[in-house]
């Protein structure tokens, strides 16, 4: 029997069939219906893909729905029109396998003993893991009155209120007058809470959270949800939108404290100041060729943070000596055919006293102490193969223009470039739940300090030349992102 005998060929072909079927299944995703965030999909019977480019990122239809206060404006929005059994809740979590790695990290010469010196080395860790959990309630209370409550936990199940607000829409019968009060995501140029990338290094926008090394400003960034009140408005297709917020100067902290609650076992929060921060965002869209539309816009955050505290028996009561900081920039988004390209620019600067932790009552600035300034931005592209399959790529950069104290921090410390690529596939979806299979790789090169997202956080150590080396950090992730 030669090697081309019918039985051998048959056996090979038969053996190849499962592999071919698997290949076909991978290369040609079945065109099944796509659906989306279940809380609203259940209510309106629409597929998730109606409101999302791929959940959780909104498309323009979803943006209009959100801008209308989670209403279709079709006289079917008030809960009184719904089946009494309808309950607006969504749960979301991402079981995953991931690998985190960073070079030029401090590695002890003797494992378990830091007193025997250290050397720069690469640290890598890997394994199965969980993301945090979102337990999201959102819907309408009445016509033109809606709410959102999102208790969210880290992967250790330490919960906090990611958002909680009530919203009033179409005041004076116009879509140009809506407001909400509570804790919410600022109306950012590109929502970080709806980001399609999830890995340790790629699961956030650096520019939204960047703080220079040795900058004492406690503000966590405009990416953090804030507590306050927002006035907003939009036209019928949300091509023209505005939002203006007045928020407490405490980075979204509750209990009049600054920032998120400290996890158990860690030190608590500082008290907040008694001032308010201001944020404004305007964007304008217009139709373009390629069956697309473009949006351009600008935004600015003007905030304050304390430089010292009023005390009682030595205990800080509230912050004083507030000094200002600014985050401002512009956006550009272009949807055309199966592509979405978006770019956001940000300029940041902090008051010199605030950044250098100086008490303006008693301290003066030295010749090396300045108001730190930096510029950053990202460019993100998405190829939407189908409502169930999206490929995402992003480049993000931050460059320091001025360090807080040039005698301590070299000029390029903190500069970073981040690259993220992800494949997000929704293999099957039913009208009441969603599952996404995500493969993602993110790589960050940063000067002098590990980027602010990965698993490691030590200063750059290159044979003792602290700050003067480059750190390469990466995240690799395979996740199963589901919500119900």
């Amino acid at each position: 029997m030669n090697s081309h005998s019918p039985s051998k060929i048959t056996n090979r072909v038969v053996a190849a069939i499962p592999a071919l079927m698997l290949l076909a299944a991978v290369l040609v995703p079945a065109p099944k219906p796509a659906n989306a965030i279940p809380a609203f999909a259940r209510k309106y019977g629409l597929p998730c893909s109606a409101c999302h480019i791929g959940w959780p990122e909104l498309n323009n239809f979803g943006q209009v729905f959100r801008d209308n206060g989670y209403q279709m404006m079709n006289e079917r929005d008030s809960p009184i029109t719904r089946d009494p059994s309808y309950f607006p809740i969504t749960v979301r979590i991402t079981p995953q396998w991931h690998r985190e790695s960073a070079n030029n990290q401090i590695v002890d010469n003797t494992a378990g003993n830091s007193e025997n010196g250290s050397h720069p080395g690469t640290l890598t860790t890997t394994g199965f893991d969980l993301s945090g959990l979102d337990l999201w309630f959102a819907g309408t209370l009445y016509k033109n009155i809606s709410f959102s409550v999102l208790p969210s936990s880290d992967s250790f199940a330490n919960f906090h209120f990611e958002n909680a607000y009530v919203r009033f829409d179409n005041l004076l019968h116009t879509s140009w007058l809506n407001f909400k009060v509570g804790k919410y995501e600022l109306d950012l140029p590109v929502s970080e809470k709806r980001l399609l990338t999830l890995s340790g290094d790629g699961g956030f926008y650096y520019i939204y959270h960047f703080t220079p090394l040795n900058d004492a400003n406690p503000f966590g960034g405009i990416g953090d949800n804030q507590l306050g009140i927002e006035l907003s408005g939009h036209n019928t297709n949300s091509y023209t939108r505005y939002a203006f917020s007045v928020v407490s100067s405490n980075d979204g902290g509750v209990g009049l404290l600054y920032g998120l609650p400290a996890p158990p076992g860690e030190s608590g929060q500082n008290p907040a100041g008694r001032t308010y921060d201001y944020y404004g965002h305007f964007e304008q869209g217009f139709n373009t060729f390629g069956n697309g539309f473009m949006k351009v816009g600008a935004y600015a955050y003007y905030g304050f943070a304390p430089t010292f505290f009023e005390t009682s028996a030595g205990t800080p009561i509230y912050g004083r000596g507030n000094k200002s900081f600014v985050r401002a920039g512009a956006e550009w988004k272009w949807y055309f055919n199966k592509f979405l390209v978006k770019g956001v620019y940000l300029h940041g600067s902090d008051n010199a006293f605030l950044a250098n932790a100086l008490d303006p009552r008693i301290d003066t600035l030295s010749s090396t102490q300045h108001a730190p300034k930096w510029n950053g931005g990202f460019l993100e592209g998405q190829y939407i193969i189908s409502p169930q399959w999206i490929i995402i790529a992003r480049w993000e950069t931050v460059h320091m223009a001025q360090q807080a104290d040039t005698s301590i921090t070299p000029g390029n410390t903190g500069n970073l470039n981040a690259f993220t690529i992800a494949n997000r596939w929704y293999p099957f979806m039913f009208s009441r739940a969603g599952l996404a299979l995500q493969q993602e790789y993110s790589f960050v090169r940063s000067n002098g300090v590990t980027n602010q997202g990965g698993a490691f956080g030590s200063l750059c150590t290159d044979a003792g030349r602290s700050f003067n080396c480059t750190i390469g950090s990466s995240s690799l992730m395979f996740g199963f992102d589901f919500d119900f």
Binding site: V13, I17, V28, P33, G45, P47
Partner: protein, 285 residues
Amino acid sequence: MALSKKITRSLILAAFGVALATPGVTLAQDTGASVNGLTGNAEAGKQDYRRWCVGCHGKEGNGEGENAPYVDPRPRDFTEALFRWRSTPTGTLPTDQDLYDTITRGVVDTLMPTWRPLTPQTRVDLIAYIKTFSPKWQTQKAGTPITIPPEPPQTIDSVLHGRQLFDQMQCWKCHGPDGRGDGPSAITLTDDKGEPIRPYNFHDGTRFRCGETNSDLYKIFMTGLDGTPMPSFADSLKPQDAWDLVHFLRTLQPNVQSQSRTVWLEYVKTHQGQIKAIGAESAGQ
């Protein structure tokens, strides 16, 4: 050898089948669509349909999407090419503009939202794809839109004549004497699929499913709502009569400001005892 050929042939056929099922194959029944200078592309519309419409209207366009059992009223069955909101005479296909207007406007008090957030091109692409679901679009042309004469003044005479017509033509049997959609026949009504259907409630509604203007309401009388018990009165109503009916129906809407309602309320103040109840003669029989 014969067996291997068979398997090879099967694989080729399977690959061909996969290719057919893959987006990118030209749609056989693409008749196109054109609205406001935009030309629809059914192939692009197919992707858009998957994204936005398939959940209710179904992959086959037959109104049997996975959410359809929970949707009331039921989603439109595109395979019948039977559309309610048209500018064309009863029994004819709607124009592309009619379909575009319905998609843009949505259908109030149903789960069909306004799709104004979609780009105009996307909406026209959707129309091109929707038209592939029925062979009617290949064998028939859209009807010629009816002519809507200029609206006469909203006077009390016009309102009273409209009220008289509403009574005589027994519109109230379905829509109810007060326009609340609760006439004696209302409970018996079904659409062409045998599904229960409710007459429009003028009293509570502020927007019509066909639109918001008086012209939109006029159109309903003259075109009918195909697939529902609401017939066309094009053969029995003169244009002036139809406008009078429109003006009367506006008086049934307490939540909508209109000249017709204003003159009617003025009239009621001074003629309270002289106004005969609608449906009184039938009730006495």
